[in-house]
């Protein structure tokens, strides 16, 4: 059990840092959800994803201490002995993949960073270099709805046979390693196709919802490309599981009917009509 007092307090009950693998996760769109008319429904969806389906990621008896604040989830895997770094990172990657699958089942997507270093979590206080590294990875390195690994975390896994044989990681075009959560579905005896169809629907819903907001739309376009890459690789004959190209291309419309006012954010932007 993650007895955080034993792990993160010294003999005089003073907080102390421990070496951990740390996941910093940002749930996308929660700001809008919290202020919208369906805030109660969104709260239930988050609760179901985080504690009501696969496991309770916030459980007090979990070996992976966690904290959730609004749209931010922090999950840690304490490194409890020499040469245990790979196990900690591997375990956290596995948990991250399972968590992403639970979030997607509720229509939620996340962006995150996974780092290794000094960390403290006890009684609601979280602190440490690994937390800062994981946050910076999430906010600057991830860019898309993906969980990226710090170089130190990747190094921990290089010699681990479990990571070589059946990796839950993929390398993206920018060289970043990220958690390949959809591949986790193929480890299970249950047919992965219903969940892949649900994933496709969740992504298409987001693409349609954000069709007029380029920055947000691009995030889900990346998820669509990831979805199509995994389904093409794992189920090459099931083309219907992929997201159709019509959802992935830019749509150009005639001027001026398709142009919206107020999109120019420069100082010399459009004049406001009195």
């Amino acid at each position: 059990v993650a007895d955080t007092a034993a792990l993160f307090l010294d003999s005089k009950r003073r907080p102390r840092l421990r070496r951990c693998a740390v996941l910093f996760l940002d749930l996308l769109g929660v700001g809008d959800m919290a202020r919208g008319p369906d805030a109660g429904e969104h709260l239930l969806a988050i609760s179901r994803a985080v504690s009501g389906s696969y496991r309770d990621f916030l459980s007090a008896e979990s070996p992976w201490p966690a904290a959730l604040f609004s749209d931010t989830l922090v999950l840690a895997a304490p490194i409890v002995g020499p040469s245990r770094e790979a196990a900690a990172v591997l375990g956290l990657v596995e948990q991250a993949a399972l968590l992403e699958l639970e979030l997607v089942a509720q229509g939620l997507f996340a962006r995150g960073g996974l780092a290794v270093g000094e960390f403290h979590i006890h009684n609601g206080l979280i602190f440490g270099g690994a937390l800062v590294d994981a946050y910076q990875l999430e906010s600057q390195g991830a860019v898309h709805p993906r969980i990226v690994l710090a170089d130190a975390a990747v190094e921990c896994l290089r010699g681990a046979p479990e990571a070589q044989e059946a990796s839950l990681l993929l390398c993206d075009a920018d060289g970043r390693s990220f958690v390949d959560y959809l591949s986790r579905l193929f480890d299970e005896p249950a047919d992965p196709r219903p969940r892949l169809r649900a994933h496709r629907k969740a992504v298409v819903d987001k693409l349609v919802l954000h069709a007029g907001e380029r920055r947000r739309w691009e995030k889900y376009r990346w998820v669509a490309e990831y979805h199509n890459a995994v389904t093409a690789d794992r189920l090459p004959r099931e083309a219907r599981l992929r997201i159709a190209p019509q959802h992935l291309g830019s749509k150009f419309q005639s001027f001026p009917a398709g142009c919206a006012a107020g999109t120019d954010h420069t100082a010399s932007g459009p004049r406001q009509t009195p």
């Binding site: 309770d56 245990r84 399972l98």
Partner: protein, 104 residues
Amino acid sequence: MSPAPRRRAPRPKSPDGRAYPAHLRRYEPLDDELLALVGDLEPVTFDRLSSRVGDAGTLAVLPRWLASARWRGLVDESASRGGQPRSYRLAATAAPGARRAPRG
């Protein structure tokens, strides 16, 4: 008279026809320890089970061992109910250390 050839047990298949993933064999040596634990605690949630696993290496691969055991029909999973996470119990055919997927 030569002995009858040993019949090879069928390799586990999923309901949709996929073969048992070869990389999950790596976790079969954990059967004795973890099946006994599931049997002691059943029905048991992932969190309760993981809280009883002391070794960090075993803990890291517990989800993969559960997947392996479910493929081989040793552990059953029940759906989550009433806001509670899903739980696991030994399948009727399972005994600690029992049934390993045949090689090949």
